[in-house]
């Protein structure tokens, strides 16, 4: 053993998938095609090497389809490497999907035992932890109900609670903190912090760069299956973000598609840059404009537009309403309303905009769309800001020593 022990060692890792255009789901086709079943091979990961020292919190970032979830599944042992190796040292637990394997017809209690044993507990160990698991999930009253009667929040809480009580030496987490209400999320984060303080190794895959930056000591950026950057989180995130800005391929195209129906009053909601181009991501402190179009004919009377800005975790950032300024003189046809910000005053993260159209006297709501538009705010490369808002001030210094 060396002087430092690594919890995870990845060496020359490669994982390929078969593309299924020609997939033979039948024996007959296989027999007819003989041994030369035709399929395209696709390397989801190739030649990836890095090490995660024991006790470190480690982030994995990358665009959609970059292979970061595949990497996590190989680390978890669910997928087997086709090349190279990924070796984990210590009891490992993967939070890939909360409550995976819950049976809807069984009670919460029965599912705790089932899920626990799938995660590697003996029944005796589960019995000892049972009260803690239920208490953490806050499901004391409902534990003998079938889980099909649970709300999705209750389901997630129970799944998280079982998984976190495994007391893993290595914990793999895939994008799951976006669930549950705020207090529960807070407790999840506390729990992660506790695991970290206890010297456990945590590996996090997330789109929330802000969270990666805050939680992780070091990170790796996987781009199109290859290791693009590894090192301290701040340097990896900087690489990732600057690459992302330069690339024309936008990371998440579905995320900002609107769920509007043709007969809705609201026709569109966009985030627009200084050149009038629509965008799905921007950087903190950049000028930005929120542009709303609505059908004034259908509304039939003057309308007030109210916008709500939320972080993806549900935190309410701000609400604004247009008052009477949204009249274009004669309110017919499609009206375009702009809300202009000279500098976007929020820190990096994922945000959502909700919209409501009211009558002028605010007594009627014509239409409401919650979390209609989602966009990303990237941190400014090299900036040293954290928190919720970007204050946008300037530093200055001068010498005030009188003896000069």
């Amino acid at each position: 053993m060396g002087e430092t022990s690594n919890a995870i060692t990845v060496e020359g890792l490669g994982k390929k998938f078969r593309l299924m255009q020609d997939r033979n789901w039948t024996l007959k086709a296989t027999l007819l095609a003989g041994h030369r079943t035709r399929y395209e091979e696709f390397w989801a990961l190739r030649d990836v090497s890095f090490e995660i020292p024991t006790g470190e919190t480690f982030g994995i970032v990358g665009g959609n389809g970059s292979g970061k979830s595949t990497l996590l599944k190989v680390l978890a042992g669910i997928l087997r490497a086709d090349e190279g190796s990924a070796v984990a040292r210590g009891r490992l637990s993967a939070l890939l999907e909360l409550g995976a394997g819950f049976h809807p017809e069984l009670t919460g209690r029965e599912n705790v035992y089932l899920n626990g044993s799938i995660l590697g507990f003996t029944s005796r160990e589960i019995r000892n932890l049972f009260d803690d698991i239920v208490e953490f999930a806050e499901l004391e009253q409902f534990i003998d109900e079938p889980v099909r009667n649970y709300s999705s929040g209750m389901y997630m809480r129970l799944g998280f609670s079982v998984a976190i009580h495994v007391e893993p030496e290595i914990l793999l987490v895939d994008e799951i903190l976006a669930v549950g209400d705020l207090t529960f999320q807070k407790r999840c984060l506390d729990r992660f912090a506790r695991l970290r303080d206890e010297g456990r190794t945590i590996v996090v895959v997330s789109h929330d760069l802000d969270m990666i930056g805050r939680l992780c000591d070091s990170s790796v950026w996987i781009n199109k299956g290859e290791l693009a950057s590894v090192g301290s989180s701040s340097s990896v995130l900087e690489d990732f973000i600057s690459h992302d800005e330069n690339s024309d391929v936008n990371v998440s195209d579905q995320s900002h598609q609107l769920r509007l129906k043709p007969d809705d009053l609201v026709k569109s909601l966009e985030l627009v840059d200084v050149n009038g181009h629509s965008m799905s991501s921007t950087a903190s402190g950049q000028p930005a404009l929120i542009r709303v179009r609505y059908d004034a004919d259908k509304a039939g009377e003057p309308v007030t537009v109210a916008l709500g800005l939320y972080r993806a975790d549900g935190t309410h950032v701000s609400s604004i309403n247009s008052g009477a300024t949204t009249s274009a003189g004669n309110d017919v046809g499609v009206i375009e309303v702009d809300y202009e910000m000279s500098s976007l005053p929020v820190q990096s993260g994922t945000y959502e905009i909700s919209i409501a159209l009211h009558s002028r006297d605010m007594t009627k709501v014509f239409e409401r769309h919650t979390h209609l538009f989602r966009f990303e705010v990237d941190p400014v490369a090299g900036s040293h800001q954290t928190g919720l808002v970007a204050l946008g001030g300037n530093w200055s210094a001068k010498n005030v020593d009188k003896g000069n």
Binding site: N24, T26, R80, G101, L106, E110, L114, I118
Partner: protein, 278 residues
């Protein structure tokens, strides 16, 4: 995977708690939200016995062999002592076959030994077989007045060997079914003739020993089917009240261990890509 050295490694290999919890899940969820619940599991053998007795004993006048030395002569008992193990065979294989594909959310999200899925499906069905066989012993005692209870250890041995044999088969087909979904259709097609080529509805001596195919008698060919050995052995013990011959035991033991070994071999071979193919 080497040979386990201590208790902990054995437990890691056999996974008793995981098997038990998955088996309980299968049993508990099976009749949830049905009014008659567990009584359904009795109807299947009951209906089968009535229908088969009517068709084969009354219409086709198949004579059951007379129990030797028990002197029993009852088609219903003759049938039931082999029909229950056969139905275990059929339902375990059908349920185990889809156990991996039906649990794809588990297989793709959690790392755990996958062989426990088909195995627990077979185990769940095995627990019902135990209950059925106990009821059968009581019924035989009531109807025929003969007590088969001293044969329980022998029946238990046969059942355990059949369990292992079925697990071996279940491992093979469930793993193959991940890659070729036609295994489940193949199974439906294969089980039907398999039943008629096993002496469940009729005695073995109806299979001609004096006719030959490629120089081998029909009866010898017929006995290549491993289920013939179990059927004969169950009938020896529960109907004839006789200890099965040494040859039968050897046939049963070798079939069990060959199939179980092949089952794990095939399963381990197919396991690595399961999460991406399922």
């Amino acid at each position: 995977m080497g040979v386990p050295k201590n208790k902990r490694e054995w437990l890691g290999l056999i996974q008793p708690d995981l098997l038990m919890n998955l088996t309980l899940r299968d049993l508990r969820s099976k009749y949830k939200r049905s009014v008659l619940g567990w009584t359904w599991s009795v109807f299947n053998p009951l209906v089968a016995v009535v229908v088969y007795s009517a068709v084969f004993s009354i219409f086709l006048r198949i004579e059951p062999s007379v129990g030797d030395p028990s002197g029993l002569n009852s088609y219903a008992v003759f049938l039931l002592v082999t029909l229950l193990p056969w139905q275990f065979h059929v339902t375990s294989l059908t349920e185990a076959n889809r156990s991996i594909t039906a649990n794809s959310s588990l297989v793709t999200k959690i790392f755990f030994p996958r062989w426990v899925l088909p195995t627990s499906a077979v185990l769940a069905r095995f627990l019902t077989l135990i209950v059925e066989m106990l009821v059968l012993l009581v019924l035989i005692a009531l109807w025929e007045g003969h007590i088969a209870f001293q044969w329980i250890p022998v029946v238990a041995a046969l059942m355990i060997l059949q369990l292992l044999f079925t697990i071996g088969l279940a491992l093979m087909i469930s793993a193959a079914n991940v890659y070729f979904r036609d295994i489940q259709h193949f199974l439906m097609v294969a089980l039907q003739p398999w039943m008629f080529l096993t002496p469940i509805l009729y005695p073995l001596n109806l299979v001609p020993a004096d006719k030959e195919f490629l120089g081998i008698s029909y009866r010898t060919l017929y006995q290549l089917n491993p289920m013939v050995s179990w059927t004969k052995a169950y009938r020896n013990v529960l109907y004839d009240l006789r200890f099965p011959s040494l040859e039968r035991w050897l046939a049963i033991l070798s079939a069990t261990f060959v199939v179980l070994y092949l089952g794990f071999k095939v399963f381990n071979r197919l396991e690595p890509r399961m999460a991406e193919e399922v």
